[in-house]
Amino acid sequence: MSFKIVVLAKQVPDTHNVGADAMNTDGTVNRAALPTVFNPEDLKALEMALQVKDQMPDATVTVVTMGPPRAAEIIKDARNRGADDGFVLSDARFAGADTLATSYALSQAIRQLGKVDLILGGRQAIDGDTAQVGPQVAEKLDIPQVTYAEELLAIDAKSITIRRRLERGTECVKAQLPVLVTVTSAAADCRFPNAHRMIRLSKEEVRMINADSIDAEMDRLGLKGSPTKVKQIENVVLAHKESVVLEPTEAALSELSATLIKEHIL
């Protein structure tokens, strides 16, 4: 009996390398100026999936992403690193989705795959930063979840054992399959793309799937299916306080410390 693993992955703007041109003058995000990357924790999730596959040779790894057509780049990257298959959910009707609508679309796509044993995703995406999609996909599929996974300890056909991060410490949990696991940045780095796979797979197209193929209620998708609305976006600008500039002289420092003592701050 085969063992089916799904990895949820998102292509994100590289917010770690935000340059001066990342924001438009009107305060909106200049997405064109931001290079895109494979969401870092999703790469860690992919690695955990491949570790399971190392131990269970009959396992298959399918990578699912929702995004614009260019998100096919991360599917190709994932295949080169060892994933068996993958597809992009791409459709204007998915656009503007908050986490509720995103998780609904992803869960409907997963439902089309038949019996799935294990779903892995990142803990959070570096652009939205909510860490909500994983638990919401689990709820929609009515399966348990294990969040903040740091290490895969054991896997068999029925259960998975994982070490996960707590606020102050760690715990080891054993979950019955199927389960959804979200992986943190402390987990193992992903293996590199394999040159042979790159050559062999270079011509293989990436499947694009639209909203009609996932048996979805249309009003639960995209902007329409999103209860959260962005009312306002502000660029972070430094609010200039009235700042007193002092030269490091004995007199100036003495006066400053006296003032702070008098104001009961020191």
Binding site: T15, T99, Y148, T228, K229, Q232, I233, E234, V236
Partner: protein, 340 residues
């Protein structure tokens, strides 16, 4: 009906966690503004006393689910009990900590209830909202204000159509304050049997390792923070001397932590802790947006930096332009003199 509800998580010592008290403080303000009651939900084992300790924060009703199977926290038992409670009580607002527990629990519940959830809010306010398309106006909407894109933008998010409006808030972002020491609320027991029977042992905890937290700078009134400009681990020791003298805690930037100048627990900022002391002394810190996210609510800020144009200076009340290794000893000497 339609009150403000706070999910109160527990500390390892089975007391109400600080984040929950911070949320109750904010929840009290929101409830007073909206003219409704403040409710809290406490799920755990042997936590009646903890539940009662919430009253001074202005909590009118504490829903108490007390059962050994609710401790330690596991997703399914807590989400099932809380989802049912929310369906029954129909609060207009529900708040969670943006902790490893809150971020595990809140999205699952929002998905079940099909309502919106805003992550990591830094401010929560009440206001009206006009839909830009339909021009329909909604009154008494929760403004959920949060940073996004790695802290480069601040978004105000609203959920006009669905209830409850749910949000998570990180620890240390809101203030915790007793509302009235004599405030009296009531305990409302919650039946859990049906939930616990259903949410069985799908996930079993095999072992837990709790790290004793030795360094905790969150509640410090005065913080002396060092950045990469401190130059070395040896130089960084000067900050500890400085801190001892003025009764402060020592904080750091990520660059200082990465360079090995001090322990990671001292890191302040987006990926560290958030602090709001009455005095923050930034020593050799440039003031990157990710660092400011964790300290800009400090009441007073002093920056010591060789660069007069360092971004941190823009949010500082006092900027001392100079080398940390000379300015700090000078300042310490002046302080000692002034105390005499």
């Amino acid at each position: 009906m339609n009150n403000v509800l706070v999910y109160c998580e527990l500390s390892e010592k089975n007391q109400i966690a600080d984040i929950a008290l911070e949320l109750c403080t904010k929840g009290r303000q929101l409830a007073s503004r909206l003219g409704c009651r403040l409710q809290a939900a406490v799920l755990g084992s042997g936590v009646k006393a903890a539940a009662e300790s919430l009253y001074p924060y202005g909590v009118d009703e504490v829903f108490l689910a007390d059962d050994p199977r609710l401790s330690p926290y596991r997703t399914l038992p807590h989400s099932d009990v809380l989802s049912k409670l929310i369906q029954k009580e129909q609060p207009q607002i529900v708040l969670f900590g943006a902790s490893s527990v809150g971020r595990d629990l809140a999205p699952r519940i929002a998905s079940f209830l099909r309502c919106g959830l805003t992550a990591d809010c830094t401010q929560l306010e009440i206001g009206s909202h006009e839909d830009p398309k339909t021009k329909k106006t909604y009154e008494n909407i929760l403004y959920q204000i949060r940073p996004a894109f790695g802290g480069n933008i601040i978004a105000t998010i609203v959920c006009p159509e669905t209830r409850p409006q749910m949000a998570t808030v990180r620890e240390g972002v809101m203030k915790k304050e007793v509302f009235d020491p004599a405030y009296k609320g009531v305990i409302v027991p919650v039946a859990v049997e049906a939930s616990l029977a259903k949410a069985d042992q799908a996930v079993e905890i095999l072992s837990r390792e709790i790290e004793e937290q030795k360094i905790d700078i969150k509640g410090a009134q005065i913080i002396v923070a060092g950045g990469y400009g401190m130059g070395s681990r040896e130089n960084f020791q000067l900050l500890h001397q400085f801190a001892r003298l003025i009764g402060a805690s020592v904080g750091a930037t990520r660059a200082a932590v990465d360079a090995g100048f001090c322990e990671g627990e001292r890191q302040i900022g987006q990926t560290g802790v958030t602090v709001r002391p009455k005095l923050y002394i930034a020593c050799g810190i440039s003031g990157a947006v990710q660092h400011r996210a964790g300290m800009e609510q400090s009441a007073k800020i002093i920056s010591i930096n060789t660069d007069p144009d360092a971004p941190i200076n823009a949010i500082a009340d006092y900027t001392i332009v100079g080398d940390v290794m000379t300015v700090i000893p000078q300042f310490m000497a002046c302080y000692k003199n002034n105390l005499k």
